[in-house]
């Protein structure tokens, strides 16, 4: 029995819930998604096909999904966390055995006309599961090793499955999203310090032994890591994408080349321009003004999540809001760092801009939960 149950009478009910929705968040989401539609339209050479139209339809469905979920009481969502997590794990296992292979990775599961990307679902399910776990757990026990091990297992098992697909970007998202929830729940700093320390140590060990007889990896593996970390060292191979992306971005200048005037994107110099690299087209055509506006809108979305978390005293709602806000942040942070040449290229889409049904729907699902937490805040 949590705090929420005592205060359940102060929670809005029925159609009145509409008034308690965070409409500002809805508007910002629509604004960001619209920028995505514009870019997809531009990249297709001024055509709704093949990307803009499906994306708009999916987003419309997503909005509906978000509103429906917003009306579901947050405690019901909490109670379903275990089910959602378990189902996602099953799907992840299924994708391992029956998944569709695309670009060398198993990521899709086709059920009739529906294409499911379980790793996307898992991002939300994991945050829900962890939030529910810490809601259940006595806050005094969060830092005890046994009670730390359990959420770690909850995070690591789907992460390993996704990594095996192989999908480095998403597994990274899962890891960071989960860690963020654990951190927010109050797990001792020391755990994080030790894990980060060990990670840095391992990487340092791998690199410092390079060239010595005790080196951990083969020479070609080191070379591969080199190009991964510094793509400019291989301008026509692995580095081609990132170099072209940076040219597109930088050449946008202050106000951009104008809508549909992006030479880099229109002339196919950009790879994955409708998915992971869509930001470069935006930056090229609308310049710093456009790119920075998008960053501000993203900031606003995260701000709404955190503000709601601070207002709420319900532990599950708080952790869910923070978890989703952080996951959302990690998405855009990794994607933008990547296209701006600050981080290696890992396949992480830009939320609401990159073309993709699963990602958009799952995001709207998550924001449905966010709205639910906002609506069902005891007042």
């Amino acid at each position: 029995m949590s705090f929420l149950e005592y205060q359940v009478k102060t929670v809005p009910t029925g159609i009145r819930k509409l008034f308690y929705l965070n409409w500002g968040l809805v508007l910002v989401l629509i604004a960001v998604a619209s920028m995505g539609f514009l870019m997809l339209y531009s990249i297709a050479g001024g055509s709704m096909e093949p990307w803009a139209e499906p994306q708009i339809k999916r987003f419309a469905v997503g909005l509906l999904v978000m509103l429906v979920i917003a009306f579901i009481p947050i405690w019901f969502i909490r109670n379903m966390a275990g089910v959602a997590y378990g189902l996602s794990m099953l799907l992840l296992l299924a994708v391992e055995f029956f998944g569709q292979v695309g670009k060398g990775a198993q990521r899709w599961l086709e059920v009739g006309p529906i294409v499911i990307q379980p790793s996307e679902l898992m991002k939300v399910a994991l945050v829900m599961m962890l939030a529910a776990y810490y809601d259940w757990l006595d806050p005094k026990k969060v830092s005890r090793p046994l009670w730390v091990l359990l959420p770690v297992l909850l995070i690591v098992s789907p992460t390993v499955l996704v990594l095996m697909q192989p999908n480095l970007g998403t597994s990274l998202m899962l890891l960071m999203g989960g860690a963020a929830v654990m951190f927010a729940a109050g797990v001792s700093f020391w755990y994080f310090a030790v894990v980060i320390g060990l990670g840095v140590g391992a990487v340092a060990g791998v690199f410092m032994t390079r060239g010595t007889p005790w080196q951990f990896l083969h020479d070609y593996q080191y070379t591969r890591i080199d190009t991964f970390l510094d793509p400019t060292s291989d301008p026509l191979g692995a580095g081609y994408n990132i170099i072209q992306a940076q040219i597109a971005l930088g050449s946008g200048g202050w106000s951009g080349k104008g809508f549909m005037q992006g030479t880099q994107s229109r002339l196919n110099f950009l790879p994955e321009k409708h998915t992971d690299f869509i930001f470069t087209t935006l930056a090229e055509e609308f310049g710093f003004v456009g790119a920075f506006s998008l960053l501000l809108l993203y900031g606003l979305i995260i701000f709404f999540c955190f503000a709601a978390a601070l207002q709420n005293k319900d532990r599950f709602s708080q952790l869910l809001l923070i978890g989703i806000g952080c996951t959302f942040f990690f998405y855009l942070a990794v994607n933008l760092s990547m296209v701006m040449g600050m981080a290696p290229v890992v396949g992480v889409p830009l939320p609401f801009l990159s073309y993709g049904g699963s990602a958009t729907l799952v995001l709207m699902l998550a924001f449905g939960a966010v709205q639910s937490a906002i609506v069902h805040r005891p007042r």
């Binding site: 006595d138 040219i247 200048g253 202050w254 002339l267 196919n268 790119a291 995260i302 942040f329």
Partner: protein, 647 residues
């Protein structure tokens, strides 16, 4: 599990604290992202913009239209022809095999063409158009155009290519163009970027080669936007090039055509020159070849045929061929002796039929000898002994100096390939060349244009023009480049006394017009067009004493290769010289029999401006001439319309 209000408040506070830490960290990172954006898009924007431009803009060259080559009257000698071709683009074609099969039903394609195309297609990117067939007829091109729906990816195209509408007439003078070769590129220090264009045509020999800079023009450029695989998206900017300058030659295409036709079947050369201006009205070399063969890339079979022909069609005999000038050289020897004071026009020499010198007999062509011979008779009857004698008196150095004064032994600068210098030997030359002293016997041989003396038909024409005009005229081939008329170079007076020149001219007049002249049969009956000239027959073999004893073998009975060269130099009209002509017929036999009639026909053709009228010939020859004219393979007159095929 139940929790107290206090616990809830406490844990919520802790979550809030942690949330603020996370939020703060995120804000900081967003600030970093914003800063990075600003750095790339504001501070480094210029650099990236430059890179983006380089990425997408490709500069391509537009080949300029090559300058035309025209004759002195503006008739087209070398033009640009539209080359119809068909190209195929793989990505548009889809099933290349199927499309090519269908195409072969529309236009004639050999299996070889199809194989080559397929190979080329495999090598190139899918969007590059590959030439399937070129030099198609208009009908074929239309056939392709009509069948477009069934032939995806197949496009008819029009390019420009050199064309020589007069075929062999001008081949030696004008030369031909061909695709740039690696050797051509290597020979240039600062190659024009145009030459990098595959199959770009440049002049290979002749005027086409030597006037390349004028003819080529300047390349235009087009800036093309390309995508990452090089596909052309659109044209951004276009700078038209400059077409090459048209070049007007001094050649009269109709005269040239007549001369080539007249030389049909012979291995011969004729040069016709204006004695006042030095304009070369005709420079013929027979047999000729079709330069168009070379433009399209000559086949191995055709090339072998040209190379193996013993009449050497590829050689430009008018400037490349250096021949012993034979008796035509007597003009030089005579003038040298007159100028040296060794003889007067009236002093005479006795010719017994030979000259004995140093235990060796130098024979006159006339077995019994000419008896008493003066200058006029020596030229008219071409007495050799007369020149043996006077040459010894004048000495070889005086003769060589005279030869050079008249244009022998030197390279006349014309925009043509492999111009021979000939040989005007003197003592110094022999010492340098053969490391031997000059002997009197050498002088005796040289006096009649044998031995070391070698001259080209061009040089002989210059010599004749100089004698006729009394001025040191130089040959010229280019009348105008573009709109710029080329100035006629001032011809300085020859440093030869008029009396000497007159004496020689009188002799040359007698050769044709006096009874007993060696070229008497080739006289012209029109009083205003009388011709003066000198015959020559140059030996290409030594006549041995035994052969001479047994009677010299007649040329007719010798194999072609060992027969004498027939030469004739002439100018006309004799009283007011306008043109000089030199004729050489390789292994033609006697100059009087073979070369002089050609010179007469050519002179009549130039002076009358039409096919020589029969009444210009002596009455007894008219039937034969009529027959000969009927057999001339002249270009029909209606071909003469000037068509500028500049596209």
């Amino acid at each position: 599990m139940r929790r107290t209000q206090k616990d809830t408040e406490a844990s919520a506070k802790k979550v809030s604290r942690r949330a603020l830490i996370l939020g703060g960290a995120q804000l900081a990172f967003v600030a970093v992202l914003g800063a990075r954006m600003r750095y790339m898009q504001v501070e480094k924007a210029g650099e990236y913009q430059l890179l983006a431009e380089e990425n997408r803009i490709n500069i391509r060259l537009i080949p300029p239209a090559r300058g035309l080559i025209l004759d002195r009257n503006g008739k087209l000698i070398a033009g640009n022809e539209q080359n119809y071709r068909v190209v195929i683009t793989r990505e548009e074609a889809g099933d290349v095999d199927l499309v090519l099969t269908r195409l072969s039903e529309v236009i004639p394609l050999t299996p070889d063409d199809i194989d080559k195309t397929k190979k080329e297609i495999e090598r190139r990117s899918s969007f590059v158009p590959i030439v399937v067939a070129d030099w198609l007829r208009w009908q074929d091109l239309s056939a392709v155009a009509v069948n477009t729906p069934a032939l995806p990816g197949v496009n008819p195209e029009v390019g420009l290519s050199r064309h020589y509408p007069r075929f062999g007439d001008m081949a030696h003078v004008v030369g031909y163009v061909g695709p740039v070769s690696d050797a051509d590129l290597a020979a240039l220090e600062d190659p024009d970027p145009l030459l990098q264009i595959p199959k770009f045509q440049i002049g290979k020999i002749g005027v086409e080669k030597w006037m390349e800079q004028d003819l080529r023009g300047k390349a235009g450029t087009t800036q093309i936007e390309v995508n990452s695989v090089g596909r052309v998206m659109r044209e951004l900017d276009r700078q038209e090039g400059e077409a090459g300058s048209d070049i007007r030659l001094t050649i009269d295409a109709d005269v040239q055509n007549y001369v080539q036709a007249r030389l049909d079947g012979e291995s011969a050369a004729v040069v016709v020159m204006d004695v006042q201006t030095g304009d070369l009205l005709a420079m013929a070399s027979a047999p000729s070849f079709d330069p168009n063969l070379f433009v399209r890339g000559i086949s191995h079979a055709d090339y072998t045929l040209l190379m193996e022909n013993d009449h050497r069609p590829l050689a430009n005999k008018s400037v490349q061929g250096a021949y012993p000038p034979g008796s035509t050289f007597k003009i030089v020897t005579g003038l040298a002796a007159l100028e040296a004071g060794s003889i007067t026009p009236n002093s005479s020499v006795y010719c017994p039929g030979y000259l004995e010198f140093g235990g060796r007999k130098f024979h006159c062509w006339k077995h019994g000898g000419h008896g008493q011979v003066d200058l006029t008779k020596s030229l008219k009857e071409s007495c050799d002994v007369y020149y043996y004698e006077v040459a010894q008196k004048a000495g070889i150095d005086a003769i060589a100096a005279m030869g050079r004064k008249l244009g022998l032994g030197q390279r006349h600068d014309l925009p043509m390939s492999a111009i021979a210098e000939g040989v005007m030997p003197d003592k110094e030359w022999k010492q340098a060349r053969h490391k031997e002293d000059w002997r009197i016997g050498d002088t005796i041989n040289a006096s009649i244009g044998q031995g070391y003396v070698l001259a080209t038909p061009l040089q002989l024409a210059v010599m004749t023009a100089r004698v006729a005009s009394g001025k040191a005229v130089s040959p010229r081939l280019v009348l105008a480049i573009g709109d710029a008329e080329q100035p006629i170079p001032e011809a300085p007076p020859l440093d030869i006394s008029p009396q000497s020149l007159d004496a020689v001219r009188k002799g040359m007049f007698a050769v044709v017009n006096a009874p007993g002249g060696t070229a008497g049969a080739s006289r012209i009956t029109y009083e205003t067009m009388l011709m003066a000239g000198k015959t020559g027959t140059s030996q290409v073999r030594n006549i041995s004493a035994s052969e001479r004893a047994a009677g010299v073998i007649k040329n007719d009975q010798l194999p072609w290769k060992r027969r004498d060269h027939a030469l004739f130099v002439a100018y006309a009209p004799a009283d007011n010289p306008k043109i000089a002509v030199s004729v050489i017929v390789e292994h033609g036999g006697g100059g009087s029999m073979v070369a002089a009639p050609i010179a007469r026909d050519v002179i009549l053709r130039v002076l009358t401006g039409e096919l020589p009228p029969l009444d210009a010939y002596p009455a007894g020859q008219r039937n034969k001439i009529e027959e000969q004219q009927k057999n001339l393979k002249l270009r029909p007159a209606d071909d003469d319309t000037v068509v500028s095929t500049r596209a």
